[in-house]
Protein backbone atom coordinates (compact mmCIF):
# COMPACT_ATOMS: atom_id res chain seq x y z
CA UNK A 1 0.00 0.00 0.00
CA UNK A 2 1.45 3.31 -1.15
CA UNK A 3 0.81 6.32 1.09
CA UNK A 4 1.27 9.92 -0.13
CA UNK A 5 1.34 13.06 2.02
CA UNK A 6 0.86 16.63 0.85
CA UNK A 7 1.27 20.16 2.21
CA UNK A 8 1.73 20.37 6.01
CA UNK A 9 1.11 16.64 6.48
CA UNK A 10 4.16 15.99 4.31
CA UNK A 11 6.17 18.54 6.27
CA UNK A 12 5.20 17.13 9.67
CA UNK A 13 5.79 13.51 8.66
CA UNK A 14 9.01 14.36 6.86
CA UNK A 15 8.44 12.20 3.79
CA UNK A 16 6.25 12.67 0.71
CA UNK A 17 5.45 8.99 0.39
CA UNK A 18 6.00 5.61 1.98
CA UNK A 19 5.14 1.93 1.39
CA UNK A 20 3.26 0.37 4.29
CA UNK A 21 1.71 -3.01 5.06
CA UNK A 22 -0.92 -2.43 7.73
CA UNK A 23 -2.40 -5.40 9.61
CA UNK A 24 -5.49 -7.03 8.03
CA UNK A 25 -7.89 -5.42 10.52
CA UNK A 26 -7.19 -2.02 8.89
CA UNK A 27 -10.00 -1.91 6.36
CA UNK A 28 -10.92 1.75 5.75
CA UNK A 29 -9.45 5.24 5.45
CA UNK A 30 -10.21 6.16 9.09
CA UNK A 31 -8.60 2.97 10.39
CA UNK A 32 -5.55 3.50 8.21
CA UNK A 33 -5.22 7.09 9.41
CA UNK A 34 -5.29 5.96 13.06
CA UNK A 35 -2.77 3.21 12.40
CA UNK A 36 -0.42 5.55 10.50
CA UNK A 37 -0.57 8.03 13.40
CA UNK A 38 1.21 5.47 15.61
CA UNK A 39 4.26 5.15 13.34
CA UNK A 40 6.25 8.16 14.63
CA UNK A 41 5.97 11.41 16.56
CA UNK A 42 5.78 13.20 13.21
CA UNK A 43 2.91 11.00 12.06
CA UNK A 44 1.14 11.58 15.38
CA UNK A 45 1.50 15.36 14.98
CA UNK A 46 0.34 15.29 11.36
CA UNK A 47 -2.77 13.22 12.12
CA UNK A 48 -3.61 14.90 15.47
CA UNK A 49 -6.69 16.75 14.19
CA UNK A 50 -8.72 14.40 11.99
CA UNK A 51 -11.12 17.24 11.05
CA UNK A 52 -8.28 18.94 9.16
CA UNK A 53 -7.44 15.88 7.08
CA UNK A 54 -8.82 14.79 3.73
CA UNK A 55 -7.99 11.61 1.85
CA UNK A 56 -7.95 10.16 -1.64
CA UNK A 57 -7.96 6.49 -2.60
CA UNK A 58 -6.52 5.75 -6.02
CA UNK A 59 -6.68 9.45 -6.90
CA UNK A 60 -10.33 10.01 -6.01
CA UNK A 61 -11.46 11.87 -2.90
CA UNK A 62 -12.55 9.32 -0.29
CA UNK A 63 -14.63 9.49 2.89
CA UNK A 64 -13.33 7.99 6.19
CA UNK A 65 -15.39 4.82 5.64
CA UNK A 66 -13.95 4.21 2.17
CA UNK A 67 -12.32 0.73 2.02
CA UNK A 68 -8.57 0.41 1.59
CA UNK A 69 -6.68 -2.65 0.35
CA UNK A 70 -3.19 -3.80 -0.56
CA UNK A 71 -2.08 -2.22 -3.83
CA UNK A 72 -4.09 0.99 -3.30
CA UNK A 73 -2.53 4.45 -3.60
CA UNK A 74 -3.82 6.42 -0.61
CA UNK A 75 -3.13 10.12 -0.05
CA UNK A 76 -3.66 12.29 3.03
CA UNK A 77 -3.71 16.07 2.85
CA UNK A 78 -5.35 19.22 4.26
CA UNK A 79 -8.48 20.75 2.68
CA UNK A 80 -7.52 21.97 -0.80
CA UNK A 81 -6.72 25.63 -1.48
CA UNK A 82 -6.21 25.97 -5.23
CA UNK A 83 -7.69 28.40 -7.72
Amino acid sequence: MRILYFAWLRQKIGVAEEEVAPPPEIRDVAGLREWLATRSAGHAAAFADAKQIRAAVNQDFATPDHPVAAGDEIAFFPPVTGG
Binding site: A56, Q59, A75, F77, G83
Partner: protein, 152 residues
Amino acid sequence: MARIQVQEALFDMAAESAALTAGRVDVGGVASFLGVCRGDDGLAAMVLEHYPGMTERALGRIAAEAEARWPLTGCTVIHRVGRILPGEPIVLVLTASAHRAAALESCAFLIDWLKTKAPFWKREEFADGDARWVAAKHEDDAAALRWSAKPE
Protein backbone atom coordinates in the same frame (compact mmCIF):
# COMPACT_ATOMS: atom_id res chain seq x y z
CA MET B 1 -13.24 17.51 -24.50
CA ALA B 2 -11.81 20.15 -22.25
CA ARG B 3 -8.19 21.22 -22.45
CA ILE B 4 -6.57 20.71 -19.01
CA GLN B 5 -3.06 21.91 -18.21
CA VAL B 6 -1.09 21.88 -14.96
CA GLN B 7 2.20 23.68 -15.44
CA GLU B 8 4.86 25.89 -13.88
CA ALA B 9 5.12 28.15 -16.92
CA LEU B 10 3.11 31.28 -17.56
CA PHE B 11 0.37 30.93 -20.17
CA ASP B 12 -0.88 33.01 -23.09
CA MET B 13 -4.46 34.04 -22.39
CA ALA B 14 -5.12 35.50 -25.85
CA ALA B 15 -3.82 32.38 -27.60
CA GLU B 16 -5.94 30.16 -25.34
CA SER B 17 -9.02 32.27 -26.04
CA ALA B 18 -8.33 32.36 -29.79
CA ALA B 19 -7.97 28.56 -29.82
CA LEU B 20 -11.60 28.26 -28.67
CA THR B 21 -12.91 30.24 -31.65
CA ALA B 22 -10.36 29.41 -34.37
CA GLY B 23 -11.87 27.95 -37.53
CA ARG B 24 -15.44 27.90 -36.23
CA VAL B 25 -18.44 30.22 -36.42
CA ASP B 26 -20.71 28.64 -33.79
CA VAL B 27 -19.19 30.42 -30.77
CA GLY B 28 -21.15 33.44 -29.53
CA GLY B 29 -19.21 34.11 -26.36
CA VAL B 30 -16.06 33.23 -24.47
CA ALA B 31 -16.04 33.82 -20.73
CA SER B 32 -12.85 33.69 -18.74
CA PHE B 33 -11.58 33.99 -15.22
CA LEU B 34 -7.95 34.67 -14.46
CA GLY B 35 -6.92 34.14 -10.85
CA VAL B 36 -4.01 36.37 -9.85
CA CYS B 37 -1.63 36.21 -6.88
CA ARG B 38 -2.28 39.15 -4.53
CA GLY B 39 0.56 40.68 -2.54
CA ASP B 40 -1.30 41.12 0.76
CA ASP B 41 0.59 41.57 4.05
CA GLY B 42 4.06 41.60 2.52
CA LEU B 43 3.64 38.34 0.61
CA ALA B 44 6.87 37.55 -1.25
CA ALA B 45 5.69 34.47 -3.11
CA MET B 46 2.98 31.81 -3.25
CA VAL B 47 4.19 28.23 -3.62
CA LEU B 48 1.61 25.89 -5.13
CA GLU B 49 1.86 22.17 -4.46
CA HIS B 50 -0.39 19.61 -6.14
CA TYR B 51 -1.01 15.89 -6.47
CA PRO B 52 0.32 14.93 -9.94
CA GLY B 53 -2.04 12.53 -11.66
CA MET B 54 -4.99 13.19 -9.39
CA THR B 55 -4.92 16.90 -10.24
CA GLU B 56 -5.44 16.37 -13.96
CA ARG B 57 -8.06 13.72 -13.21
CA ALA B 58 -9.96 16.03 -10.84
CA LEU B 59 -9.81 18.99 -13.25
CA GLY B 60 -10.99 16.76 -16.08
CA ARG B 61 -13.99 15.65 -14.02
CA ILE B 62 -14.90 19.20 -13.06
CA ALA B 63 -14.69 20.25 -16.71
CA ALA B 64 -16.78 17.24 -17.78
CA GLU B 65 -19.41 18.26 -15.22
CA ALA B 66 -19.50 21.78 -16.71
CA GLU B 67 -19.83 20.30 -20.21
CA ALA B 68 -22.71 18.12 -19.00
CA ARG B 69 -24.54 21.07 -17.43
CA TRP B 70 -24.08 23.69 -20.15
CA PRO B 71 -23.92 23.46 -23.97
CA LEU B 72 -20.24 24.41 -24.31
CA THR B 73 -18.30 24.46 -27.56
CA GLY B 74 -15.02 24.49 -25.66
CA CYS B 75 -13.47 24.65 -22.20
CA THR B 76 -9.91 25.26 -21.04
CA VAL B 77 -8.47 25.06 -17.52
CA ILE B 78 -4.83 25.94 -16.91
CA HIS B 79 -3.49 25.91 -13.34
CA ARG B 80 0.05 26.88 -12.47
CA VAL B 81 2.09 25.16 -9.76
CA GLY B 82 5.42 25.97 -8.14
CA ARG B 83 6.55 29.43 -7.12
CA ILE B 84 4.28 32.31 -8.13
CA LEU B 85 5.03 35.98 -7.48
CA PRO B 86 2.50 38.68 -6.51
CA GLY B 87 0.84 40.03 -9.65
CA GLU B 88 1.39 36.79 -11.57
CA PRO B 89 -1.49 34.63 -12.79
CA ILE B 90 -2.32 31.39 -10.95
CA VAL B 91 -5.22 29.92 -12.87
CA LEU B 92 -7.10 30.50 -16.12
CA VAL B 93 -10.58 29.16 -16.84
CA LEU B 94 -12.10 29.71 -20.29
CA THR B 95 -15.50 28.57 -21.50
CA ALA B 96 -17.01 29.03 -24.94
CA SER B 97 -20.63 28.60 -26.00
CA ALA B 98 -23.13 29.75 -28.61
CA HIS B 99 -24.82 31.78 -25.86
CA ARG B 100 -23.34 34.12 -23.29
CA ALA B 101 -25.25 32.87 -20.25
CA ALA B 102 -23.86 29.35 -20.69
CA ALA B 103 -20.31 30.67 -21.03
CA LEU B 104 -20.57 33.03 -18.04
CA GLU B 105 -22.29 30.58 -15.70
CA SER B 106 -20.03 27.64 -16.52
CA CYS B 107 -16.94 29.80 -16.03
CA ALA B 108 -18.10 30.80 -12.53
CA PHE B 109 -19.01 27.18 -11.81
CA LEU B 110 -15.57 25.92 -12.87
CA ILE B 111 -13.59 28.30 -10.69
CA ASP B 112 -15.88 27.66 -7.69
CA TRP B 113 -15.62 23.89 -8.02
CA LEU B 114 -11.92 23.96 -8.79
CA LYS B 115 -11.30 25.79 -5.50
CA THR B 116 -12.85 22.98 -3.46
CA LYS B 117 -12.44 19.86 -5.61
CA ALA B 118 -8.93 19.92 -7.10
CA PRO B 119 -5.87 18.87 -5.07
CA PHE B 120 -3.82 22.07 -4.87
CA TRP B 121 -2.33 23.57 -1.73
CA LYS B 122 -0.97 27.08 -1.36
CA ARG B 123 1.91 28.07 0.88
CA GLU B 124 2.55 31.75 1.45
CA GLU B 125 6.10 33.02 1.89
CA PHE B 126 6.58 36.47 3.40
CA ALA B 127 9.32 39.05 3.01
CA ASP B 128 10.27 38.62 6.70
CA GLY B 129 10.96 34.89 6.24
CA ASP B 130 7.67 33.64 7.67
CA ALA B 131 5.76 31.01 5.75
CA ARG B 132 2.32 29.50 6.26
CA TRP B 133 -0.06 27.11 4.53
CA VAL B 134 -3.21 28.84 3.38
CA ALA B 135 -6.29 27.57 5.22
CA ALA B 136 -9.35 26.53 3.24
CA LYS B 137 -12.08 29.18 3.25
CA HIS B 138 -15.65 28.53 4.33
CA GLU B 139 -16.77 31.00 1.66
CA ASP B 140 -15.20 28.78 -1.00
CA ASP B 141 -17.23 25.82 0.25
CA ALA B 142 -20.35 27.99 0.19
CA ALA B 143 -19.57 29.15 -3.36
CA ALA B 144 -19.11 25.55 -4.52
CA LEU B 145 -22.36 24.49 -2.83
CA ARG B 146 -24.32 27.04 -4.88
CA TRP B 147 -23.83 24.69 -7.81
CA SER B 148 -24.88 21.47 -6.10
CA ALA B 149 -28.33 21.62 -7.71
CA LYS B 150 -28.60 21.60 -11.49
CA PRO B 151 -29.14 25.02 -13.06
CA GLU B 152 -32.65 25.81 -14.35
